[in-house]
C-alpha cells in the first residue's frame, strides 16, 4: 500500500533519513519507534508530502506521490503537536476540513461523540488545553474513514479515559483492515495494539518485523522486553 524506495533527507548537517526502503501493507498496525531525533517524524511527514525527500520515491497504492495530493484523501493524520489557527473555532476547523476533503461518504463520528466535541464547537482554538487539541486531532484523523492512519504520539497528553477510547478505536480500525502507523515512546501503550515493529536509529531502519517474529526471536513475552533484549545484544 505504501512503499518507500531509498528515500533520503538531510537537514543541514543532520541526515534525518538515510536510504530508507520500506513496504507497508493493509491490515498492518505498525509501531514506529526509536530514540528522539531518529527520523520518525520526518519519515511520516515525507509520506504525507509535508517534507520532500532529497532522493528516492514514495509509492502510494502503486502511484508515485510526487506532485500528487489526492492520495492524501486516503490518509488520516494525527500530528504529534496539533497546531491550529488560533482565531478559528473547533466548528470552523471541522467545517473547513470537511469542505477540503469533499467526501460524500458517511462520516465516522464515533470519536466526535465520545469526546463530546459537539458541546464545544464554538470554542476558539487558542483557549483549548493540549489534551483537548489532541482530541480534535484524533477526531479529524478518523473522521473520513481513511484507508491509512498515521498517528504521531497519539496518546501523549490525553487523559486515561480518552486514551482508552482512542486505543479501542485504533484496534477497531486495525480489525477492519486499515494500515496504521503509530509512533510512541511508551512501548507498553502499544503492546496490545500493534502487530508490527519498525525500529529506527540515526535515520536508518534497524529492524522491521512482525511482533510475533520478534518475540520468537528474542524469546521474550512482551514487545518492550524484546526490544531491550535486542538493544543489549547489539551493544555486546
Amino acid at each position: 500500500m505504501i512503499e518507500t524506495i531509498n528515500i533520503s533527507k538531510r537537514f543541514g548537517r543532520l541526515q534525518a533519513l538515510n536510504n530508507i526502503s520500506l513496504s507497508l501493507n493493509k491490515g498492518e498496525c505498525i509501531a514506529l519507534i526509536g530514540p528522539n531525533g531518529c527520523g520518525k517524524t520526518t519519515l511520516i511527514k515525507s509520506i504525507l508530502g509535508m517534507v520532500l525527500p532529497d532522493a528516492g520515491d514514495i509509492i502510494f497504492d502503486g502511484k508515485n506521490i510526487k506532485g500528487d495530493n489526492l492520495y492524501r484523501s486516503h490518509i488520516g493524520y494525527m500530528p504529534q503537536i496539533g497546531r491550529y489557527p488560533e482565531n478559528m473555532s473547533i466548528g470552523q476547523i471541522i467545517d473547513l476540513i470537511r469542505y477540503i476533503r469533499n467526501s460524500n461518504e458517511p462520516l465516522d463520528s464515533d470519536l466526535y461523540e465520545q469526546f463530546k466535541i459537539s458541546s464545544m464547537t464554538d470554542k476558539k482554538m487558542r483557549t483549548l488545553s493540549g489534551g483537548t487539541i489532541q482530541k480534535i486531532s484524533a477526531t479529524l484523523a478518523f473522521m473520513f474513514n481513511p484507508k491509512v492512519l498515521i498517528l504521531d504520539e497519539p496518546t501523549a497528553g490525553l487523559d486515561p479515559i480518552a486514551s482508552e477510547m482512542l486505543k479501542e478505536k485504533i484496534i477497531a480500525a486495525r480489525e477492519s483492515g486499515k494500515l496504521i502507523l503509530i509512533t510512541s515512546h511508551l512501548l507498553s501503550e502499544l503492546e496490545e495494539i500493534v502487530n508490527g515493529i519498525i525500529f529506527m536509529q540515526d535515520g536508518m531502519v534497524k529492524l522491521h518485523s512482525s511482533t510475533e517474529e520478534l518475540k520468537k526471536k528474542t524469546g521474550q513475552e512482551t514487545i518492550s522486553k524484546s526490544i531491550i533484549q535486542l538493544l543489549k545484544n547489539e551493544q555486546v
Binding site: L48, V51, P79, N87, L96, I97
Partner: protein
C-alpha cells in the same frame, strides 16, 4: 474559495485593517478639507499614501503570513494543492488591503479630485498595496525566522520609500552636468513607489516643477505607450516576487 473566505474573515476580524481604513479616511478627509484647492489636497494625500500604503501592506502581510504557519500546517496533510493555500492567503491579503484603501481614501479622492486623476490614483495605490503584499510573501520565503522576515520587510520598505529617492537625488546632483535624465527615467522604473509617484504627479500637472526632467518624464510616461509600460512594470513588481515565493513554497519542508 472556502479557504479564501476563511482568510478574509480572519483578516477583517483582526481589526487592524479596519483601523487602517479609518486612518486613511481621516487623513484624506482632513487633507482635502484643510487645503483650499483640490489639487493641493491631492498632493498631500499622495504623499501620505506613498508612505503609509506600502508600510502597512508589507508589515501586516509579513506578520500575517508568519502567523498563518499553523493554518498552512493544518491544511497540507489534506488533499489540497499547496499553491491553492498560498494563493488564498495572497488573494485574501491583497483584497483586504485594496478594499481598505478604496473605502478609506478612495471615496474622498473620488469626491474631491477630477474623475480621471482619482481613478489613476486609486489604481496606482491598489497596485502599490498588492506589490507590497507580494514583497511580504517574498520575505516570508527567504527566512523561517519571523523577526528576520519582518526585518527584511522593513528594510525593503525603507529602501523603496526613502532610500531610493535619496539615491536618485544623489545621482542627480553628482552628475548634474551630464544629460542623465533618460537614465533617471530608467532608474525610477526600478522602484514601484517612484513609478506610482510619477504616474500621479504627471496627472496633476505639477511636473513643470521638475523643470527639464519633468519634461523628459512627461515625454516618457505621459504618453499612452508610457502609461501601458508603467502598468506593465507595476504588474511585474507583483508577479515576480509572488512567483518566486510560490515556487519556493511548493518545495518547502513543513
Amino acid at each position: 474559495m472556502r479557504i479564501l473566505k476563511y482568510v478574509s474573515l480572519d483578516i477583517l476580524k483582526n481589526k487592524i485593517v479596519i483601523a487602517y481604513a479609518v486612518m486613511l479616511a481621516l487623513f484624506s478627509w482632513s487633507a482635502f478639507g484643510l487645503e483650499d484647492n483640490a489639487s493641493k489636497g491631492l498632493l498631500t494625500v499622495l504623499n501620505i499614501i506613498l508612505l503609509t500604503v506600502p508600510l502597512m501592506s508589507v508589515l501586516f502581510a509579513t506578520i500575517y503570513v508568519y502567523n498563518s504557519n499553523e493554518f498552512i500546517e493544518l491544511l497540507v496533510s489534506h488533499p489540497i494543492k499547496r499553491s491553492i493555500i498560498w494563493r488564498a492567503l495572497f488573494a485574501g491579503l491583497s483584497l483586504s488591503f485594496v478594499a481598505a484603501f478604496i473605502l478609506g481614501a478612495g471615496i474622498p479622492i473620488l469626491l474631491f479630485a477630477d474623475f480621471e486623476t482619482a481613478l489613476m490614483m486609486i489604481i496606482a495605490s491598489s497596485f502599490l498595496s498588492v506589490i507590497f503584499v507580494a514583497i511580504a510573501f517574498l520575505s516570508n520565503i527567504i527566512t523561517r525566522d519571523k523577526a528576520k522576515g519582518i526585518g527584511i520587510s522593513i528594510l525593503l520598505w525603507l529602501y523603496f520609500a526613502l532610500l531610493f529617492d535619496g539615491l536618485v537625488l544623489f545621482l542627480f546632483f553628482q552628475f548634474a552636468d551630464y544629460p542623465i535624465e533618460k537614465f533617471v527615467v530608467l532608474l525610477s522604473a526600478l522602484s514601484p513607489v517612484d513609478l506610482c509617484r510619477i504616474l500621479i504627479l504627471l496627472r496633476l500637472d505639477v511636473s513643470a516643477m521638475f523643470g527639464y526632467t519633468g519634461a523628459v518624464f512627461k515625454d516618457y510616461f505621459g504618453t499612452d505607450g508610457g502609461l501601458i509600460l508603467s502598468f506593465l512594470l507595476l504588474s511585474l513588481w507583483i508577479i515576480i516576487p509572488y512567483m518566486i515565493s510560490i515556487i519556493k513554497f511548493r518545495k518547502r519542508d513543513l
